[in-house]
């Protein structure tokens, strides 16, 4: 069996940054396993601009952003295997993978970093009558078809859900000559970025219908029309408002789910809120030496934050290997209250010589004029004033050294949202 120090599963932005982080922390024996024929992950199909504003202060397209990291990985001489799919790993960090050249590979790793990204919520996950016809695609599948395969899935489009991928695809299909008739959103707000609502819908006069849903899909063999209706406060369709829109294609942009099947089988504890692992501030899961970061941990809106988080995970994985493991000290669980749905990391360790870290969270509704507050043993440690906080945007609270120290000493940590009174 092959023996490696740090093995990274997934070569998307998370895996690339984790590898670079591990290298920079002094580790040299690093291997990335990627099932696609290319590094870069989902960014390869995101050909629009708007990536990297935070990190590089310039607006890159997805492939350009990925390439900056791919070039760095190659420059550093970090090893990677493409078209290699990990089929399992266990709590002893034995990884099983397959590829055409080597067949079945078994690797004993000292540390594993899970960077498998997320997948789209499948159509089975939502209930629409008549969901059998051809012409129904997830927005990400349509993105791949148009941008990678050069194939247009349809001419008259309705989009269900106003997530960013759906918004981006509304513009992309319009550019390719399609007519996007409406974007239909169940909630009274969008989970997409404002910028995308303006530049992908408003610019082309595509209506965005809040508090609406698709109640029926018509057409034998191929979609011919969809029936949409307004919903009440309980999200139940008001059938008297139903109207039919002719279209040949329905795109679903109804959310992403972290890809944690492998992790689950290995015994990684998952959070029911994020569908990702529960991690401590070193990005380590409940399994000793198994780390997780990027979209597989929790869905990010901006890839810049994926890179940042993953670099930290990579560094910690390297420190784990170089130091011969971490001393377990239990740590303190981070509790959330008042509209904060989750906070990553979920556990903060007491030992104080690890890397500094930020707190990342999402809220459950649209809140105006509020404070995000962090308490350690009842003492206010950090806060951030927000004019507006929405479920579509991840909130980050950066911590200074003394704030980190206060959290490390605490027996009780609370993160929540309070009205500005």
């Amino acid at each position: 069996m092959d023996k490696r120090n740090v093995v990274i599963i997934g070569g998307g932005p998370a895996g690339l940054a984790a590898a670079i982080g591990a290298y920079e922390a002094g580790e040299r024996d690093i291997l990335i396993l990627e099932r696609e024929p290319k590094l870069g992950g989902i960014l390869n199909q995101c050909i629009h601009n708007g990536f990297g504003l935070h990190t590089f202060k310039e607006e890159l397209t997805g492939p350009e952003y990925a390439n900056r990291f791919i070039r760095k990985v190659k420059e550093l001489g970090i090893e990677y295997k493409l078209e290699t799919t990990v089929i399992s790993f266990d709590k002893n960090k034995v990884i099983t993978a397959v590829n055409e050249k080597d067949g079945l590979i078994k690797i004993q790793a000292k540390a594993v970093v899970l960077c498998c990204g997320c997948r789209e919520r499948p159509r089975g996950g939502i209930n629409i009558a008549g969901c059998r016809s051809a012409g129904i695609y997830s927005a990400g599948t349509a993105q791949k078809l148009v941008n990678i395969e050069g194939y247009m899935p349809g001419k008259e489009i309705v989009i269900l859900g106003s997530g960013d991928i759906g918004l981006i695809m509304a513009r992309r299909m319009t550019f390719e000559g399609a007519k996007v008739k409406a974007c239909v959103e169940l909630m009274p707000y969008s989970s997409g970025l404002n910028r995308n609502i303006v530049q992908c819908l408003k610019d082309f006069d595509i209506p965005l219908l809040f508090s609406h849903t698709v109640v029926d899909i018509k057409g034998e063999g191929r979609v011919k029309s969809v029936v949409i209706a307004e919903v009440d406060e309980k999200l139940v369709p008001k059938m008297e408002t139903a109207r039919e829109i002719t279209c040949d294609t329905l795109l679903l942009s109804v959310g992403l789910i972290p890809e944690n099947e492998l992790a689950k089988q290995a015994g990684v504890e998952l959070s029911p809120v994020t569908n990702g692992a529960t991690v401590d501030d070193r990005m380590m899961t409940n399994l000793d030496g198994v780390f997780e970061c990027g979209n597989v941990l929790h869905v990010h809106d901006l890839v810049d934050f994926v890179s940042e988080e993953s670099e930290l995970a990579g560094k910690c994985a390297a420190k784990y290997v170089i130091g011969g493991g971490f001393e377990a000290d239990g740590g303190t669980k981070v509790e959330t209250y008042g509209g904060v749905r989750y906070c990553v990391p979920q556990i903060i360790e007491h030992n104080d010589d690890y890397e500094p870290f930020p707190l990342k969270m999402r809220v459950s509704n649209v809140f105006r004029n509020v404070y995000l507050r962090v308490y350690a043993d009842g003492q206010l440690v950090a806060q951030k004033k927000k004019q507006i906080s929405t479920p579509g945007e991840m909130e980050t609270i950066s911590l200074k050294a003394e704030q980190v120290e206060a959290l490390r000493k605490a027996k009780e940590i609370k993160v929540g949202l309070e009205e500005n009174k």
Partner: protein
């Protein structure tokens, strides 16, 4: 005209009208919003991204972007200049695929490299 400011997550709804002195801007919570609204009224621009077919390459499609923002009113004309374009591999990231689009001085450039098959 009603606009949504995209300069920060607040997304203020801004009303902007022309008047004798220039513009009457309402609804913005900060000066950045006013600037944005005036730019959108006078000379709105956008980056444009698209893709074209590749021949003899390891991949089928080449992704492109404008190297500078282009007038919003020219988006569809600019895209039309890409119709039927097929690029022969190899291509390098940054290569100019269509120079001086519509005489604007803006170029469509490759956003990825594609090797020969």
């Amino acid at each position: 005209m009603e606009l949504i400011c995209i300069c920060c997550p607040l997304g203020c709804r801004i009303n902007i009208e022309k008047n004798a002195e220039g513009f009457d801007v309402r609804g913005n919570s900060c000066p950045r919003g006013k600037q944005y609204a005036i730019a959108e009224m006078t000379a709105p621009t956008r980056m444009v991204t698209s893709s074209v077919l590749v021949s003899g390459g390891k991949e089928k499609m080449l992704s492109l972007k404008t190297d500078k923002p282009i007038a919003k009113s020219l988006i569809f004309d600019a895209l039309a200049t890409l119709k039927g374009v097929v690029v022969a591999a190899p291509v390098n990231e940054g290569d100019v695929i269509k120079a001086d689009v519509l005489g604007t001085g803006v170029n469509f450039i490759a956003t990825r490299s594609i090797e020969k098959a």
